[in-house]
Symmetry: C2
Subunit: 475 residues, 2 copies
């Protein structure tokens, strides 16, 4: 199956291309405008041009090789369109419409026909029941959703079972100015599922971390194996802990019940999991940009005790450890700050002071510490210890995360300087603690968790092929 | 005890006033500049003027009545200063310095002297070991922290055990453009603790919600009773679930161990609790601005299934309920949207469409529903259902919360219009679900939880007087 034709096409056919702005077949063309390959609008009822390209009646009438068909037609017509695509030698397709495996026996039959055709011809089919995909760095927006073409290029690849969640994640990165390397809504996963998407984007130069949104899949073991095999860090967000039974089943078949099994599977295969879209994106940003943690041990340095207690509490509840520091480290800190407020880990300096950066450096250099979390509310007279951190990151290869806050106008230069040198900055104690806890779990799994699994019972069971994508294409 | 003199002073003495910018006694004067009452800089070693006000050697030499002394001197000098304040008839004081009950026997003796003097004279003493307080609407910044004077006036009153956490919360509201009615860091609570602060701000016209950050207090029952007695909605964030023993004890005495007891106490007294600073502020904003929920039943309407599943899952795990809708409601929705994707609660419309607002209105009108959560990713061609919501909020008196996201420039007008009519908007499914879960818990407790407690064993036990404030004033 040629997944490369799906995600790196040179020529695209839009089947169901339309002049009517409310149609998906119109919005897809709008979103494709920055694409610098060939585009063929396909619609048997249309004539003339749209956006300067000639309508054709069928993909079979296109003379060029078409790599990818974006199929924006109603569900009943889709199986025939996919057969035409196969006959025309199209390598890949995206099917936006809902009304397939998630929608009763008739829909299941439709999906079976699509899968059979695609399998026979080795076609990579994304969807049905998806909003599509976006590769910002290539100016390639294969989604009909408005606005998602504005998401900037970044390092995180989103692979979401739900197109709606994929778009929510994309807009969150847009809001934070981070961007994505790719965004994929898998939908009903006709032939392109988690394993194929993970495999492709593991080799994608622009991708430095892969995040998964998982509701449930019939290929759980392949998902876990592909995640473990990836050289790129992978984080997973498994939803559906509580009984969302009737609702989820209407979208995902037998979603409920396997949640714990999935979590155990991810742990066994060395893939850390999170519990929100924000943790997923924060974790990807930190794992993608910075040095990877070698273990679960967190050194915390705080200039204010209250947020430090919140942070220490939260890290310990979320899989991180606060190790004892080496005697030499404690002595060094006592030398830097005689009479320090609290010299165990977490280190509490009581207030910011000029020596604060030296204390951070002493903790970071301790072999017992795999990840460093610094909490310091901004004080104008001192600023953040930017210069000391700049020399520190040149000598210590460990993730360092800052939690700080203050009047944005006053400290944004210091924050930008820290982020520039690979030190991510978060603006609440919990948000910093959550991302550091994720780093700690990643480090723990890296340390000992990514061995061959020996307990096949941990593998998630089959649970149907239909799923939620957040999109029922109204075409 | 005259807490009014503390929080609404007409004249202030700054003891330890200083020309040296790195001194707290300087920063306090800087932060007081917008205050339109009288200010007296007090320092026996200084002469002349600072910021146009004449230095005096002692509070006893001030001719006017002084309501409030801001005491910015080192700990060893503080007990004598408090005695001078008492002798001079000063009603209230803030003590910034650390080195009291949190700092061993010598510090405990110092705090005992302060408490004795204050109690004898009915002085309201905030601190020691605090960064102070801020009342943005009065231009009154009784904190030495830089930047906190920029926090705008809003409706939420923060009462935090830790000055550091108080400032973190204040900066978060600044970042979100929300602001505060008041911010108080209690510190060691010499004579002003949770009960006094809650009582005062319950009567504060600018305050529409009170949020508490609690580590541990020796007056747990009074805290609970003051919270229950308040007419203003109160939400609590109790920290210290995991063993943060040695660190916490260095700041709060015997913090650990009582966490579950506190949570049970809050529940028994009808005070909902949260697990992060963000939930605390989001909850206060929604409870303070909008109608209060009458029960725990949430109606969810989503235009995308994937985020809807995340929301339904999260609400059910966090104390909310998704009730069955009345038959009449289901019939109405079926009439609005024949062939709707999923017509139970959560309602899933599959995609946004022009009738989406009517579906929301049908759910909101159902008597089974106490709180409404709407999830709809923005689509340019439709916008958000602003007009329909405007007519809805005139007829239905229930909290309505939106989760949406999209390109900020495209939809900020719609978002502003919703917020203008009292519908708060959040930009991730989890954040909206968390605030709605808080509303549901508040509604559940309002429904049946705020009766007289009948089990005194639920009362948190004494656990010391010292605590973390995040500040050890370096004066």
């Amino acid at each position: 199956m040629n997944v490369g034709s799906l995600f790196q096409p040179a020529s695209i056919a839009v089947v169901g291309a339309s002049r009517a702005p409310e149609k998906i077949g119109h919005q897809v063309l709008v979103n494709l405008r920055p694409f610098d390959g060939t585009i063929h609008p396909v619609n048997p009822s249309a004539e003339g041009e749209i956006f300067g390209r000639e309508f054709v009646a069928s993909v079979t009438e296109i003379d060029d090789d078409v790599d990818l068909a974006l199929v924006a037609v109603p569900a009943p017509v889709v199986p025939d369109v996919i057969e035409e695509c196969a006959a025309a030698g199209v390598d890949a397709a995206v099917i936006y419409a809902g009304g397939f495996a998630e929608a009763g026996p008739e829909g299941e039959d439709r999906q079976d026909r699509v899968v059979e055709t695609a399998t026979d011809h080795g076609m990579a089919v994304l969807g049905p029941n998806t909003s599509g995909f976006v590769i910002p760095g290539d100016g390639l927006c294969g989604s009909f959703a408005s606005g998602v073409e504005e998401v900037p290029a970044g390092g995180t690849c989103v692979i979401a079972q739900s197109g709606g969640v994929a778009h929510s994640l994309a807009f969150q990165t847009l809001r934070e100015g981070r961007g994505l390397s790719a965004m994929v809504g898998l939908g009903n996963r006709a032939t392109v599922g988690f394993p194929e998407a993970i495999g492709h984007f593991d080799d994608h130069a622009a991708t430095d971390a892969i995040v998964l949104h998982v509701e449930g899949t019939d290929r759980g073991r392949e998902l876990l194996e592909a995640s473990r095999a990836a050289d790129t860090p992978v984080i997973a967000y498994k939803v559906g802990e509580s009984d969302v039974g009737a609702f989820a089943e209407s979208h995902t078949g037998a979603l409920t019940g396997d949640h714990e099994l999935y979590l155990a599977g991810f742990e066994q295969y060395g893939i850390p999991t999170v519990e929100s879209t924000r943790e997923l994106l924060d974790g990807a940003a930190v794992l993608g940009d910075g040095p990877l943690p070698a273990g679960p041990n967190v050194g915390v340095i705080t200039a204010q005790a209250g947020p430090g207690i919140i942070i220490a509490d939260r890290i310990q509840r979320s899989g991180g450890r606060l190790p004892e520091l080496a005697d030499a480290t404690s002595e060094e800190i006592a030398g830097i700050l005689p009479g320090i407020t609290y010299a165990e880990n977490p280190i509490d300096t009581g207030r910011p002071m000029p020596e604060f950066g030296d204390v951070v450096a002493a903790v970071a250099a301790d072999d017992a510490v795999d990840v460093v979390l610094v909490n310091e509310l901004y004080e104008d007279a001192l600023g953040l210890p930017v210069d000391r951190m700049r020399s520190l990151v040149e000598t210590v290869e460990k993730p360092i995360v800052f939690a700080t806050d203050g009047p944005p106008a006053d400290f944004e230069d210091d924050v930008a300087a820290l982020e520039e040198m690979g030190i991510p900055v978060f603006h609440s104690p919990e948000r910093a603690a959550d991302v550091v806890s994720l780093l700690a779990r990643y480090g723990a799994l890296a340390d000992g968790g990514r061995q061959e699994p020996n307990d096949e019972r941990q593998e998630p069971s089959d649970d149907g092929t239909a799923d939620s994508t957040g999109v029922n294409a109204d075409v």
